[in-house]
């Protein structure tokens, strides 16, 4: 029992992102309001971003910026002291993608609102069927 608890605690980052993903999915699937769905989508994407960032962390590692001594001499760099920068780089791209998707989704929501005067999915559907 304690072994499982220890595993859960040791890998807490994975559990956090799983929870966030599930929250995001839950919101997307069950909520009827378009904005809430979009928010859920964003939470989902953020969870994945968090996951990636977390895998780059190291115990005792520091920010991955190389400091140059004055006079331009560089020390030998030992990667083990720095946290992995690659996931951060990848996630910069992913954040941009998430923002772009958010923008597109909100623009669509605005158009839908202008057309149907509501943001509730069931009302929209009934208006479509009614009209």
């Amino acid at each position: 029992m304690s072994g499982i608890v220890a595993t859960i605690i040791a890998k807490y980052n994975y559990w956090i992102y799983i929870c966030l993903m599930m929250i995001g999915l839950y919101a997307m699937i069950t909520k009827r309001n378009l904005i809430k769905k979009i928010v859920g989508m964003n939470i989902f994407q953020t969870a994945i971003i968090l996951f990636y960032v977390s895998i780059g962390a190291k115990r005792g590692g520091t920010i991955p910026i190389i400091e140059h001594a004055h006079g331009g001499q560089s020390h030998a760099v030992e990667a083990v002291h720095y946290i992995n920068p690659l996931p951060h780089v990848l996630m910069l791209t992913a954040i941009v993608v998430a923002v772009a998707t958010l923008g597109v989704a909100l623009a669509l929501a605005i158009r839908i609102y202008n057309r149907y005067r509501t943001l509730e999915e069931d009302e929209i559907l009934s208006r479509i069927r009614g009209s």
Binding site: L25, F44, I55, T101, L108, A109, R111, R115, I124
Partner: protein, 497 residues
């Protein structure tokens, strides 16, 4: 210069997108020539790369000169070279056929439309040519986002359909990203060839299995594999026809290509087929996809919805064929990427012609259409025959390989599903032919002349590309042997029997 073609493929359309956007502000008439020029450059690069691959073998290009796995590598081999050519051809033919409709339908938004169009092609070309898993995600999202924009430009139900597509597409892409993340954790690399090199020692690791499954689910969402297809019919139906004619032939097929790329290059067939043991289950899912796609298509009352469900069934063909686990099935699946793209393009261009004249695409507006628009319906029928699988159109040959693969694998359910789908397609297309041919009814038996309906054909700008594609279906069919012996044969690793 030709050394840089793999990069030029992606960069030319990407940069021109900015210029088109600018041109859209200044003078709308520059948009189309710019789009054609950039796609033409991409097309020429694709063709030359294809030629080089066939003559000399796979081409590897390092972006910025950085060696993989630190740099991004673009790799053109026998699997993606034909797909690159296919994308460019489809994009250019569609531009030719649709530009008139674009100028009429999107007067103020011409610049926006062409920008998104070119961006989408950028994304698709990049997905196909890249050898880096994360780069693929980036380009996938470029393609998807521009696709959302293109679809949302349609009629009044389009924004809602697009929003639903946004939800599901984003989940799909995020799953793919997650899977890549898992792979990164266990291998430390993002380069596909590199991952393939490192993975064999790790096959027992549950993370690898999870990575594959998550990536697959994500890709299945994006390619509309039943039951994850629900976004597709509405999205393709309410999209404006010029957009649908670009997206429908290409998006799902390129996703199938990515799946096959993962199966063959990254995870290697040995792992996917033998260690994993899920291929039987996947093929059964494909069977359900084919059957449900066929049945749902039967229930539709308008042309675009019907074709959308046919696409869902066709995706089932490709997924099932790839997962059969033998050479014939895989050949059939890859061949079907090419064939299905062409068939779908043919059908959607015919719909474009019909919508141009009839302003509608429901079945009831098709009455007497064979007399009014004989050339359009002729090409439509040719496309239909290809979907049914009548020789010598290309659809027959991919079906041949798929059925052969099913027989070899002993998967009679898949074969039965393929035959069932062919028969349902006969019903689907002849229903339309009946409406076009028989209705409206005259009293009596039609002896003597009814007042002949004047022929009201679509303009040449739609008809010529439409017929190029329709005849291309027959030409590609007859040349299947060439395609297979010179290209596809080498795309499939010898490990698959």
């Amino acid at each position: 210069m030709s050394h840089h073609f793999p990069a030029l493929l992606v960069i030319a359309p990407l940069l021109s997108a900015f210029f088109i956007s600018g041109a859209g502000w200044l003078n709308r008439r520059f948009c189309l020539p710019l789009a054609v020029a950039s796609l033409g450059v991409a097309g020429l690069s694709a063709l030359s790369l294809f030629w080089r691959v066939v003559q000399q073998g796979p081409v590897l290009y390092r972006l910025g000169g950085w060696d993989p796995p630190w740099g991004i590598a673009y790799a053109v081999d026998f699997l993606n070279a034909p797909v690159l050519v296919l994308i460019c051809i489809v994009a250019l033919l569609n531009l030719w056929a649709s530009h008139r409709q674009v100028e009429e339908q999107f007067k103020e938004k011409t610049g926006a439309f062409y920008t998104l169009y070119v961006l989408m092609v950028t994304g698709l070309l990049g997905i196909t040519v890249t050898g880096d898993a994360f780069n693929l995600y980036v380009l996938l999202e470029i393609a998807s986002l521009s696709g959302y924009g293109l679809i949302a430009m349609g009629e009044d139900r389009a924004p809602l359909a697009t929003l639903n597509y946004v939800y599901m597409g984003t989940i799909g892409a995020c799953f793919y990203l997650l899977g890549i993340g898992y792979l990164y954790i266990v291998t430390g690399s993002l380069n596909m060839a590199d991952i393939a090199r490192i993975l064999p020692g790790l096959y027992e690791n549950k993370a690898v299995l999870t990575a594959l499954i998550i990536c697959l689910v994500g890709l299945w969402l994006k390619m509309a594999f039943f039951p994850l297809h629900v976004w597709l019919p509405n999205a393709y139906t309410f999209a404006p026809v010029p957009s649908a004619a670009l997206i429908a032939p290409l998006m799902t097929k390129v996703m199938v290509y990515v799946m096959i790329r993962l199966m063959l290059t990254v995870f290697t067939p040995g792992y996917v087929f033998s260690t994993l043991g899920i291929n039987d289950a996947v093929v059964w899912f494909a069977v359900i996809a084919i059957v449900m796609g066929a049945i749902l298509a039967l229930g539709q009352r308008d042309l675009k919805k019907m074709i959308s469900y046919i696409i869902v069934a066709e995706v089932g063909y490709m997924v099932g064929g790839a997962w059969l686990g033998n050479r014939a099935g895989m050949t059939g699946a890859i061949l079907h990427i090419i064939n299905d793209a062409l068939m779908t393009l043919c059908l959607f261009l015919a719909v474009a012609a019909i919508t141009y004249r009839m302003k509608s695409y429901t079945f009831s507006s098709l009455k007497g259409l064979i007399r009014k628009m004989p050339f359009t319906m002729g090409a439509f029928i040719l496309g239909g025959l290809s979907i049914i699988g009548v020789p010598p159109t290309c659809g027959f040959f991919s079906k041949w390989y798929l059925i052969t693969g099913a027989l070899q694998a002993g998967h009679y359910g898949f074969m039965a599903a393929l035959l069932f789908s062919s028969l349902v397609n006969v019903v689907l297309f002849f229903r339309i032919i009946e409406i076009g041919f028989f209705e409206p009814f005259n009293e009596g038996h039609g002896h003597g002349e009814h007042g002949p309906e004047p022929m009201n054909e679509a303009p040449l700008s739609i008809l010529v590309p439409l017929w190029i594609v329709a005849l291309g279906l027959v030409v590609v069919g007859v040349y299947t042997s060439e395609i297979i012996t010179h290209v596809l044969q080498f795309a499939i690793p010898k490990a698959i029997l």
